[in-house]
């Protein structure tokens, strides 16, 4: 498309980058078809093409964001189904990131909105605070219907509803040293198992492991509170594969939560801290990969190089960290896990947007599940977001609920025994609306290759029997 930026505007690298993105868009409209909000609301303004146009006009004219524009930008889930669809390769992600920063800088949100956002930004990225907030939410849950009736407080109602009903399951403490099921006959490489590799090696211990098999797992923030069992499963499985796990103390939230709210300085703060810690770890003996079990965070880690590219002190380090970031399934797909006999369980695989649209990791999870003996079913409209999208289900409860219902109905139509996905946001969102058990992909893989039955399945006699 034709753009209208002045030479002075083009001198600003951020604007120049956005202009380059806009120049690629040919306004063909393909993106509208796969955009969850356009499909739900039927308004051009709630489509990627409409938002691109709103952003273009705002940036070209250096106009402060208006309430109307913010409404439509806020409705974007950042699911990036549009970038999967876009034939001309418009980098919508970095355009909407830029627009969100512009909104944050130029627009004064109404007080309740500002308060909710500040609250989320101060709680979610900090596990101790988040844990406390969840305890309070359990007490406050009866207030949800009241908040529901007052429009500006609806996000609070959504928050209360999303909080897990029981206490978060504690991570299973036993690290199973059960050997991998032994149908490895056709496997290309022998799997090191059975020699009871400790779950987590101390830094000193890690030095001894061959560098190519030394990984860190992002501990992150919300997931370790909501479901510590996921990382525990990943650690058990990797350990049994003989892969050394390196702890990087102090590492925390990747910055995605605040990044998607346009709070750029906070996001970069999280990013720099993590980059420093991992860089030190790399210097102290190498790191094969930084594994992520929450795909939403994985996307942000993979984008650190871009986020910090204009910071001379960090650009190179951040790029190195991004290059090491891998989704757990991406990494496991290269570990030659042996094929196992069918387990008689059908799994509806929900492709998290962050995995399928951002990271383009589409085949690895399904192949791993199939190799582990699960019968994989793919729900219809798999490209559509479940409505979780970070804090979206709190900030945009109505659209989120519509997408959640659509997603769950597509999932249940597969008549699968259980649901799995690679992102805690999706797990929480889908789990809140279905009676099917919802688990992380790596929990199923850990189970199949000798780990304990995932906590959410353990309650059912059916799955216990399947073990």
């Amino acid at each position: 498309m034709q753009t209208f930026f002045t030479p002075a505007q083009r001198a600003d690298p951020a604007l120049a980058e956005s202009e380059a993105i806009l120049r690629r868009c040919v306004h063909c409209g393909f993106c509208t078809a796969t955009c969850p909000t356009y499909v739900t609301l039927g308004n051009e303004l709630d489509s990627p093409r409409g938002r691109i146009y709103l952003i273009k006009d705002m940036l070209e004219n250096d106009r402060p964001a208006t309430a109307e524009v913010v409404t439509h930008l806020d409705r974007c889930l950042s699911c990036l189904a549009c970038t999967t669809t876009c034939p001309s390769g418009v980098d919508y992600m970095h355009l909407i990131d830029h627009a969100r920063m512009h909104v944050e800088k130029t627009y004064a949100r109404p007080l309740p909105d500002r308060a909710i956002r500040a609250l989320l930004a101060r709680i979610l990225p900090y596990p101790a605070r988040f844990r406390l907030a969840l305890s309070l939410a359990r007490i406050g849950r009866p207030l949800a219907p009241l908040f529901e009736r007052i429009a500006p407080l609806r996000p609070l109602a959504a928050m209360l509803r999303l909080a897990p009903k029981g206490r978060p399951a504690a991570a299973p403490s036993d690290v199973s040293a059960k050997p991998l099921a032994s149908s490895a006959a056709g496997s290309k490489r022998a799997i090191p198992y059975g020699n009871s590799t400790p779950a987590s090696l101390s830094a000193a211990g890690a030095e001894a492991a061959p560098p190519a098999r030394r990984v860190a797992i992002l501990r992150g923030c919300a997931q370790r509170v909501l479901d510590p069992g996921i990382d525990a499963a990943a650690r058990r499985l990797l350990s049994r594969l003989g892969i050394a796990l390196v702890d990087v103390p102090g590492e925390g939230c990747c910055g995605a939560l605040v990044h998607h709210m346009g709070r750029e300085e906070e996001a970069l703060g999280f990013a720099r801290r993590n980059v420093d810690l991992w860089t030190a770890r790399i210097a102290a003996g190498g790191l094969d990969a930084i594994l992520v079990t929450t795909s939403g965070c994985g996307t942000t880690l993979k984008d650190y190089g871009h986020m910090l590219k204009r910071d001379p002190a960090y650009a190179e380090k951040a790029a190195r960290v991004s290059a090491l970031a891998r989704d757990i399934t991406e990494y496991l797909a290269e570990c030659d896990l042996p094929a196992l006999p069918a387990r008689g369980l059908t799994v509806a695989y929900h492709a998290a947007c962050s995995l399928q649209h951002w990271q383009k990791v589409t085949l690895a999870p399904k192949r791993l599940l199939a190799a582990a003996g699960f019968s994989v079913r793919e729900p219809a409209e798999g490209h559509l977001c479940c409505g979780s999208a970070g804090t979206y289900n709190i900030l945009q409860p109505e659209i989120s609920a519509a997408l959640q219902a659509r997603k769950v109905s597509n999932i249940e139509a597969t008549r699968a025994d259980l649901v799995c996905a690679g992102n805690i946001g999706c797990l929480t969102q889908i789990g809140a609306a279905t009676s099917l058990p919802v688990v992380h992909t790596v929990e199923l893989l850990d189970w199949a290759y000798g780990g304990p039955v995932p906590a959410r399945l353990a309650a059912s006699a059916r799955f216990a029997a399947a073990e």
């Binding site: 209208f4 409209g29 078809a33 308004n43 709103l54 070209e60 034939p87 001309s88 418009v90």
Partner: protein, 490 residues
Amino acid sequence: MSNATSHAAEGPGCAPIAFLPPRPDVLARRDEIMAALTELVSAGGVVRAPLALKPFETDAFVAYRQPPLAVVLPQTTAEVSAVLAYCHSARVPVVARGAGTSLSGGAIPQADAVVLGLSRMNRILEIDLENRTARVEAGVTNLSISEKVAAQGFFYAPDPSSQLACTIGGNIAMNSGGAHCLKYGVTTNNLLGVTLVLIDGTVVTLGGKHLDAGGYDLLGLVCGAEGQLGVVTEAVVRLIARPEGARPVLFGFDSSEEAGACVADIIAAGIIPVAIEFMDRPAIAICEAFAKAGYPLDVAALLIVEVEGAEAEMAAMLAEIVTIARRHGVRTVRESQSATEAALIWKGRKSAFGATGRIADYICMDGTVPLSQLPYVLKRTGEICAGFGLEVANVFHAGDGNMHPLILFNANDPAEAAKAEAAGNEILKLCVEAGGCLTGEHGVGLEKRDLMRFQYSEAELAQQMAVRAAFDPLWLLNPSKVFPLEGRPA
């Protein structure tokens, strides 16, 4: 800073296409019109803020832009009827819009017009497999009909490249075609009935689940009328049983002329494959970059020929086609080996226009020529663009002679943009001179309006305008389009 209409024509170009001058009395009543519309549709159905109107200022013919007076998004035929009745009584122009994917500017508004967006009317109302029909609202996307009945082994045949996004309402307005129309016909051959709202709000139904409607073929008239006879809110379309098998085959040639001559000979031999699509070297590179379909990159021209049916039927037809292709020096023949590969081959072809955005801005022509003229028209197209110093990529429905030269240019260079438009006009005139017509499937819209006199005499235009005026005597429906502004009835 951003201009409201087109780029200025500078240098060796042509005059930009003009919009009808807005009616000052309508502009002056903006608030009143907005208030009235708000009463007529469900909550959130009127877009009013000037900043929010901008994204509706254009469609996929993005060189031209004009924000509308207002946008209204009705949810039912009754709401559409109420909106049209009001606009009729208030003398406000109306531009219907589906997904805004028109390549001829069919959905581009004008300053005094209300955009009537059908995007909220996106329900599939009835699937009747016994009668092989689907009844859908106008805002349903083309592809979603086929997806809905895929499991039962059916599909809706016309498949414009934008089928993922474009709507049935827009397809009917432009009588859209697509790759597979060679065998199955275009929209008009697959449309059985419509619910049409006339400009005064009257709701009429034409046709139904049966093949022929009584009386005049009004359905045939409405299909392709570019939103000037009424607004279609529902359609009954034909569903077709999927063939047992379908296989796209890639034929690579050393020159566009050889490929073009091969197409003419295939059709002359009486062979009708499902599709014969053409791509030249630049188009192949563009599509491969997006779809990674494995198109040969070392050929000057590529034909995608799809055959379908039982295995023996496909093999027999393919053998005949290969024999003809050999006569024209075909260099590579590759059959798709799997459903995944076939899907990628079509994904690449159908994304060609958008994928062109990776390398340049473009305008897409839509002239149609007799097949025997294909080699000549292809050669001249290249010469015309070269004469303007512009690159061109050709990707089109060769089997029915429907050319789509994509003229590449830099939209931020007004002089080059004007040249691209001028080259486009030359190419379309060439198509008419070669015995063809201005538009195969994209419609006249704004883009080709001022070229209509190259194709039609004054008497022919007058007759067409008389038909149009019989439905819409005040010329309120999509008035800037199709007919040249000069010479219209007062």
